[in-house]
Symmetry: C2
Subunit: 822 residues, 2 copies
């Protein structure tokens, strides 16, 4: 079936002796110019083969050839561990970006649509009489010539919120009334300056005169006074010259200039933002906004959902003769073609102005896929990471069509996938396994799809051919209802939704129908607000220091909230942002282990305490890498830019520390253990055994305790979080919210996950999942189907009830697909 290439070139990419991560001397041949799907349970080594070996090697070769600079970097990082690869063209990866898109880029910029729309306004826009023609840069808020001069193209103006700056007016200044002030010395400095200026810093804030209060918080003046600090008990302090800054000045200045994310996030807490009064939030200068097309300035089409944008452009294109009319028609045709591709991939509900930071990883990957369809690349290898993630079954066909187009344009596709429909349609399948981690790392099968049926050990085979079904218990009766009404946000308009308690509920619907808005924003927002306003997610939500968005709970009436004591959101975001967090630190297990090391005779003799066994503080760690175990290298076009520390060779500790052993293992040896192995070694240690057992049970037995959090996949991170939850005492009355928990999971991993979620429900908790995987939906107790379409064509509940009810309901697109599984 695979023909020889012209000139007799071997039509295969042949990989020999691949040894990245857990791969066990893998030899495999995959055809070029085909769609090849890589399958296997989570942790089996699919990504290590497709991304870590084939993609990385292709990148390395190409960049080394193009740039001597890249070569020097690659030499430090090390080439992928592989004997040889032949027939390997340059590669392009379409990965699910872990950190999400950047705040600065938008749907329009990543797809090039913005450029073309700007050209349309430049060349075919209606200009005010006498106005000079502008070039396309003038329609971009990111250029000097385009940006609104008042807000510098940001669209919003920040200012302080006085109520947030003084949350408790009963406090005196000395007692900390002004929450916005910095801590430590600088805060005392401001206090002392005010005292010198005659302010009574011991009076409750509310009793100070109003004009005084305003001056303290808002003045632009920076008076300088001689401060005579009160003598501290333990040290003598001299008079000094102090400069006052109002709380407002301090907050705005810090927000604008600090390089510390923590300080910036703190400042953001006291800020509100409002649309820029000059451009009205449209970010462009008045001259640019004066140019119109179809009667609207450029911000109008940019805010339309793409599906409507296409319609708008078609309607408004002039059919005039001449250069201008022709330019307009050519540009509109160009836009329409690009938009069609995106709409076909189920992204028609997005608007050009939508920031990519608000997109899910799956949406972002499909956006890049749509863009690639127009890239004109020929003869490259595309490597994709689960492109079906976030895609409703009704959109799978369009995805396959898109992949087919890339292939027909002369490229090869390597796709890591768990979706059975995508697997079935591949030209070639490579199944990796049989297990995860050290129990995986072998290629069980490589060939055309039907042949996999004979591969005995393959877990994929069981699901792909035998159609293995999950046990489907009778739907549980809810213990109560949580009802939200008056929900108006994004495409939800005055919606009422009710969620059964004490059960497992699946929320379904095509991409853009409103699932995340309903569940991850409104529901969690309402519950969090009721529980005391803690941030709903795992605490890193506002790490970017963006001023808090409008409140998703606003205007919503809720009943049934009393039955919920606790909210846990288990998502796929990384469990930590540095290579300093890992499984051991995240689960708390590391503390227990370090105490064990400190308690050994050897450690006590040497005076080593538990801190000595931390790689975060000086003492026991390797000082060359400061306990990172690796040296980071800045590299633009390559993933994984870190080289092992040459001093400790990745062990993170200094030699003396490694001389202390517990049960024959040094602290570095412990970090190098898999969960499974550690479970045996520490079976009798209460502080460790429980965490290890649960991690093993959710299918993560293959992970090493010290594997940096940043290298865990989204699916792995999610299960680590789930495990951390499961190891707590199950109290019931907790609401668990999961957004597409099956992403990155093989069907057999999904089985494990479902068993865990079931366990939570049985213990009296409520679980709500947003999900596209029909077997999972079929195994839920209750289903809420949003739709019927995405964006304005969605936002309604089109069906709800037991899986069987929804499968039988007319109206929703989900029922059709669900029917096969109930």
């Amino acid at each position: 079936m695979i023909d020889a290439a012209p000139g007799g070139h071997d039509p295969f990419i042949r990989v020999r002796d691949a040894r990245e991560h857990n791969l066990r001397h893998v030899d495999v041949d995959v055809p070029r110019d085909r769609i090849v799907v890589f399958t296997g349970v989570s942790g089996s080594g699919k990504s290590s083969l497709a991304f870590g070996t084939i993609y990385a090697e292709a990148q390395r070769r190409y960049l080394e050839s193009v740039s001597p600079y890249a070569r020097r970097l690659i030499e430090q990082v090390g080439a992928p561990k592989v004997g040889d690869v032949t027939g390997l063209p340059p590669a392009v990866a379409l990965q699910q970006p872990r950190g999400g898109g950047s705040v600065r880029s938008s749907v329009g910029t990543v797809t090039h649509l913005s450029n073309v729309l700007r050209m349309l306004y430049s060349r075919a826009g209606a200009y005010p009489p006498g106005a000079e023609r502008l070039d396309s840069d003038s329609f971009s808020p990111n250029t000097q010539v385009g940006a609104c001069p008042h807000c510098h193209g940001i669209g919003t103006i920040h200012d302080v919120d006085t109520e947030r700056m003084v949350p408790d007016p009963d406090l005196s200044i000395r007692a900390g009334a002004i929450a916005a002030w910095p801590g430590a010395w600088q805060g005392k400095n401001y206090r002392d300056i005010l005292a010198e200026l005659g302010v009574d810093v011991d009076l409750p804030w509310r009793e100070l005169p109003a004009d005084r209060r305003e001056w303290i918080l808002l003045t632009e003046d920076q008076p300088v006074v001689t401060v005579h600090p009160v003598r501290d008990a333990d040290r003598i302090t001299r008079p000094y010259q102090g400069t006052y800054s109002s709380a407002r000045r301090y907050v705005l200045h810090t927000y604008a200039t600090t390089r510390s994310p923590a300080l910036r996030a703190r400042a953001a807490r006291f800020l509100t933002s409002r649309p820029c009064p000059v451009c009205g939030g449209k970010r462009l200068r008045p001259e640019s906004l004066a140019v119109t097309f179809g009667g609207h300035d450029i911000s109008f089409p940019a805010a339309l959902p793409l599906s409507e944008l296409a319609e708008f452009l078609r309607k408004e294109t002039p059919d005039t003769e001449g250069a201008e009319g022709e330019a307009a028609r050519a540009l509109v045709a160009n836009l329409a073609e690009r938009i069609t591709t995106m709409t076909e991939l189920g992204l028609g509900y997005l608007s050009m102005s939508r920031s990519t930071s608000t997109l899910s990883p799956g949406e972002l990957q499909r956006l890049r896929l749509a863009t690639q369809l127009r890239s004109g690349l020929f003869g490259v290898v595309y490597v994709l990471d689960e492109p079906s993630a976030g895609l409703h079954p009704s959109d799978t066909e369009a995805l396959l069509t898109a992949l087919g187009r890339l292939r027909r344009a002369g490229n090869s596709l390597l796709v890591v996938e768990h979706n059975l429909d995508v697997m079935r349609r591949a030209d070639w399948i490579v199944d990796v396994g049989p297990g995860a981690g050290e129990r995986g790392g072998l290629v069980l099968y490589s060939g055309e799809v039907p042949g996999l049926a004979a591969a005995g050990e393959s877990a994929t085979r069981r699901y792909l051919f035998a159609g293995e079904r999950r046990a489907r218990p009778e739907p549980r009766e809810p213990s109560g209802w949580l009802e939200l009404s008056g929900i108006t946000r994004h495409n939800l308009r005055d919606l009422t939704a009710r969620f059964p308690l004490g059960t497992l509920t699946a929320v379904t619907g095509v991409s853009g129908s409103g699932k995340s808005t309903l569940v991850s924003q409104v529901l969690t927002g309402v519950v969090a607000a009721k529980l005391g306003g803690e941030p709903p997610a795992d605490g890193e939500d506002n790490a970017e220091g963006v001023p808090v968005e409008d409140d998703p709970a606003a205007g919503v009436t809720a009943t049934g909230l009393d039955a919920v004591d606790r909210l846990v959101r288990v998502d796929q975001r990384p469990i930590g942002r540095s290579s300093r967090s890992n499984l051991a630190t995240y689960t708390g297990l590391f503390d227990t282990v370090r105490k064990m090391f400190a308690a050994t005779g050897e450690a006590r003799e040497r005076g080593y305490d538990a801190g000595r066994f931390s790689f975060n503080v000086a003492g026991g760690r390797c000082e060359n890498c400061q306990g990172e175990g690796e040296i980071h290298i800045e590299m633009l076009f390559l993933p994984g830019a870190a080289a092992p520390c040459p001093v400790c060779r990745g062990r993170r500790y200094n030699p003396e520390t490694l001389e202390v052993k517990v049960r024959g293992a040094s602290i570095a040896d412990v970090l190098d253990m898999t969960v499974e192995r550690a479970r045996e070694v520490f079976a009798d240690v209460p502080g460790a055994a429980r965490a290890l057992t649960v991690l093993d049970e959710v299918g993560l037995g293959y992970l090493r305790l010290g594997q940096p959090a940043t290298t865990l996949s989204g699916g792995e991170a999610q299960r680590v979080k789930l495990a951390a939850e499961l190891q707590r005492k199950r109290r019931g009355r907790t609401l668990y919210v999961l957004d597409e928990p099956t992403t990155g999971l093989h069907p057999s991993d999904v089985d494990l996950l479902m068993a865990q979620l079931r366990g939570l429900v049985e213990a009296g908790n409520t679980v709500i999942v947003v999900e596209h995987d029909m077997p999972v939906v079929a195994a839920a107790d209750w289903v809420i189907d949003l739709g019927p379409g995405g964006g304005d064509a969605g936002g309604r509940i089109v069906a709800e009830g037991t899986p069987a009810d929804v499968a039988a309901a007319p109206g929703g697109v989900t029922g059709r697909f669900l029917a096969a599984w109930v």
Copy 2:
């Protein structure tokens, strides 16, 4: 002949509507998986098509797909001007680096040989008893673990040369005895400090006591004294605290820390360097140098010519059993294979430790080509720029073999070439023309080679098929001889060479035989020394600020030097290093033109002087780009990273300045004129007409006056320099030295060049060229053939005499090729 690709892919790269530079809406199809040669006269647009369009577009597409960061940069720089290109794989360019290689890289590093040799020493070296095994980094002077701790891996130690610091000891300090001191205020400061310290700054230097002199020049002390400066006539100066630095401290500190290339170069003038006493110049730490292979530390094989290195390794490889022996054999086999490729490409005379900054552009390109043969890239387009440059005809076959290997490995090759032998062996030829600049820019022919015979307009056709011969005058009788004896440098050992005066001499020989050493180093060194020690080249030789190398003239005895008054070296190095130099500034024509602008009534009314029309100083220039016309963008993997200035749109001037016109043209219009057009416009202006006429005559009529010097090819730069020479009054008695002047020139351009060189000889001057082009050699009056091989196998004069003599002489490899042309 071109078959369809598998899956029915179109086997062509199809370019539509290419408009880069002078290309006139070019459509052209070139086959993939073939060797395609691009031909045409210099300036016809070959590079604009092969590099500026096809390569740039391929890079753009690939990098845009790989990196959103690259995309943002590309948007600013602008995509190549082309309608569409289909069937275009990612590309790799092997260009002739204009600036030469970097000082930090060596033959070993760019070819990866160093890495493998280090592994060999690490794994299979003989360690001193008890020594710990070292890893391969320990054998690299560029790593912390490998570098000699004394010289930090540099191998040399710099110190000051006291004689150079005080070149004229008859001067007093006040009169400037200490040449090494900084100028301006700082120099006066040191003088005043010395005066305060009691030094008589008015005594001739030689009359100061010796210990005083030493202290002034060399002390490490930094005494602080109160200086009472002598009152200047026009301003009152107060006493201040001054810190003294000895001249040595000042020079070493400046050399080590300044960021100004000029200051660094100035400091370098007072430095000498000597080998590091700890490592003996071997750059490695003692532990690393203690490890041996075949009885030698790693610096020994690194310094061997590659051809001998292969032999050494073969002889010394242990045939022991076991892991160590096996590793050694595998590594040696790897090294041997790499070395063979390089030797085949005529580079066997190079050593691994040779710095790439001492290689010619042609050598560097072939080095990269050899490396690519092992890169394992598949399905890419290689674009090469005259790979035959610097190659003796006897090595052309090996070059063709190398190109063929890349093709058979699954790649496409696009080669810009002037070498007729390479053209004849191409699978496909694209001939661009018919003329240069605006008279070129068309594809005259695209197809298999024989078909070009029917392309009437093609200049290439005439040389390729008709075998057009140059007029070969009778060899001229020399007017005298310049004889050098005792030449010992590189591979020249006590050589005697004589050059006829008043004639055109060609120096020939295979690559590495010693031609450049003899002509560009020794001959020019000797003549320059006799003429008064001016630097031999065009003044930019030491711009890198490297301390002056040993004197190439040392030990050489010369006779006949009196007949030479002047030395001119015309090489292919850029005529300027910034986009501020251009044809107009370099030839001095710009001064004349600016005076014309300043003399207009309009300019006088407005008070604009000639400075107003300079783009180098504030006043008339655009201040956004400070007269550059473009904004530079840092971009790692792309060439040409500059975007037109958005304010002046590349015109470099502000609007008011552009309102002044001379003969209907603004100053920006003048810079935009071709030489040819300007020659008409300024025909009656003495200060301009001569320069323009000569530029036109050397075949550069197509160049625009304002084209930045940095964008001129080596061949263009060389002819600009030649033209600048020719426009001076011809005085005779000048020695012109040219190193491979035909590089980058089409045979028809070579004809023009030869006519110019003949003219110089007829005016009584002497011309010496290093050359590989046999038609040029055949047209010389005298030939000196070095050889017989490269490196130690060369360095002798194997034949000399008229072209006919040398063609008939036994011994040299050149005669055989020359015979066809005499």
